[in-house]
Subunit: 326 residues, 2 copies
């Protein structure tokens, strides 16, 4: 690595750690904070639900979606308030970005809880721990997922003094669209219907564009909505989001074949076992890896086309998505 | 009935029918309208999900929550646009009210879908039809519920030209709070934990205040948020919502004992069978009926305290909640 690349990698590491600390703290503050783990049980009317919600969200996950929100917010000029001497902090925009970051993670977390349930993927291991329904029972897992989705929208709609109401409305709009039947839930329904079927690459792409891509893309657009963004930049960010969204899934399929369960923290080899169509099963392993690299290049090109100055974090996250090993 | 009471009942019937037609039409337009039942399947990527969503929402239910939204909106001066010569229609407020009306119904519908699933109440009959998971399978039922919750927030956040963004944010805030762990989902979690336990009347009240009451109260407050409402009037509407919310559940418990399955359209006698604490099991049948009447009086008193001119529809709905036979 050159001196400059070294420097960039080190500064990205710093940015990442700082943002991750803020996100973890915010999630812990906002997700069922009256859980008996943290305070006296008398304050909490539904202690098991609170515990299940916290279990589903805290101490796990790469937090890719929150990082995308924050990186995009920074790219469009939101001062996240980390670091010194960066100028006056626009508190409302920074709050919007942090709340948006947590809200996409809550949607992601709820989808994993429901996805792991016996009537869906029936998985018992997630992030190296028993899944929520194994730990708390199916009924509480179902409710915890439901409550996490509601909480995502609750976080986005604080008092008007905290976040501009126009921004609140935009963030809710993007999140709701990406989570519902034209986004994540729709993609999961296609996924369900495709088990044991022969899909074309186009059909597989469509399924993943909805199932995983929609929320990853929404993360980028929600971050951008916290600041000022031109239509041109927004369109380019949309393309960036689409490219890394798809790349994420291609890499997922590759890792399902090449990594082991211990490294992944979830059951490896499930796709092949369940006879699910994947990029690897349709294109082969090498072509899938090459496709992921091509999508990375598309994402980087889109970033250049935004015309935005500070896209370093978004750039690093694109590399992270494609080069990850878990 | 006196001439004036007759006249009032007839005019309420007219108001109800007009609003119900609008709500049914709007739900049909907004809930997965590309379902293959309604158009060519090629437009719909997840046809089973769309069908399950429409099945869960359309052609059923009393639409009490939407009617509460619309009645409250009218009470605070929103012209719903039904009838002639009522003055200029504020399109944005009327749109907000209609969208709010549908959004609370979607939350209600999704909660029924999930509540009926085998891991929860395991019920096979709802509104006289097989429940969603019986008809479409558990996985699609789970996803349909999830997608309906997202759709509720999608409806509340159209383009700023359609509904003021400040109103959008307020509506999302009220709905998210009432649906999540401090509202409906929290109440359901307490309900789950209370099976086979001896609850006090206070604990039972708290459970139902969250499980059923929160969304009924939210319906009233969301309607009010579509127009101009003073803090005093809003507080009184909150009390009205709390009273009818609790009354609704007391009557539900009474009907579970006194009505039969065919009339209810759902399995009667389930509570006793599942050893669930109810108002009837704790207070007895007669005291429960008297309690419902007392709550009705509280609701009517609260309406007077709003100081609002046009609370006729809210008044009629309070009577309807307590005097219903299904």
């Amino acid at each position: 690595m050159s001196h400059s690349a070294n420097h960039r990698a080190a500064s990205h590491e710093l940015w990442m750690s700082a943002q991750l600390i803020r996100v973890e703290q915010a999630l812990s503050d906002w997700v069922a904070p009256n859980s008996p783990i943290h305070s006296s049980a008398s304050e909490d009317l539904a202690p098991v639900l609170s515990q299940a919600m916290r279990y589903a969200v805290l101490d796990g996950g790469k937090r890719l979606r929150p990082l995308l929100v924050l990186a995009a917010a920074e790219a469009v000029g939101v001062n996240l308030g980390v670091g010194v001497g960066l100028g006056a902090i626009d508190e409302k925009s920074a709050q919007a970005a942090l709340r948006a970051a947590c809200s996409v993670e809550l949607i992601h977390a709820y989808s994993l809880v429901h996805d792991d349930m016996p009537c869906m993927d029936n998985d018992i291991l997630r992030r190296g721990k028993p899944t929520v329904h194994v730990k708390f029972g199916e009924a509480q897992a179902l409710l915890a997922g439901d409550a996490l989705q509601a909480l995502a929208f609750e976080l986005l709609t604080p008092a008007p003094e905290v976040v501009e109401t126009a921004v609140q409305a935009t963030l809710c709009r993007i999140l709701a669209l990406s989570a519902g039947c034209h986004g994540m839930a729709g993609g999961q329904a296609i996924d369900l219907a495709s088990v044991g079927k022969l899909l074309t690459i186009d059909e597989l792409r469509t399924m993943h564009r909805l199932k995983t891509g929609a929320l990853l893309q929404a993360s980028v657009l929600m971050g951008a909505a916290c600041g000022k963004v031109s239509p041109v930049a927004n369109l380019a960010l949309q393309e960036y989001g689409a490219a890394i969204g798809l790349a994420f899934q291609v890499v997922d399929d590759v890792l399902d074949v090449t990594a082991d369960t211990a490294t992944l923290g979830k059951t490896a080899g499930k796709d092949a076992e369940q006879d699910k169509p994947t990029f690897v099963s349709l294109m082969g392993l090498d072509a899938s890896k090459a496709y992921a690299d091509k999508l990375l290049q598309q994402a980087l090109t889109a970033l250049e086309q935004t015309g935005l100055g500070n896209t370093h974090a978004l750039e690093s996250l694109a590399y992270m998505v494609v080069n990850r090993v878990t």
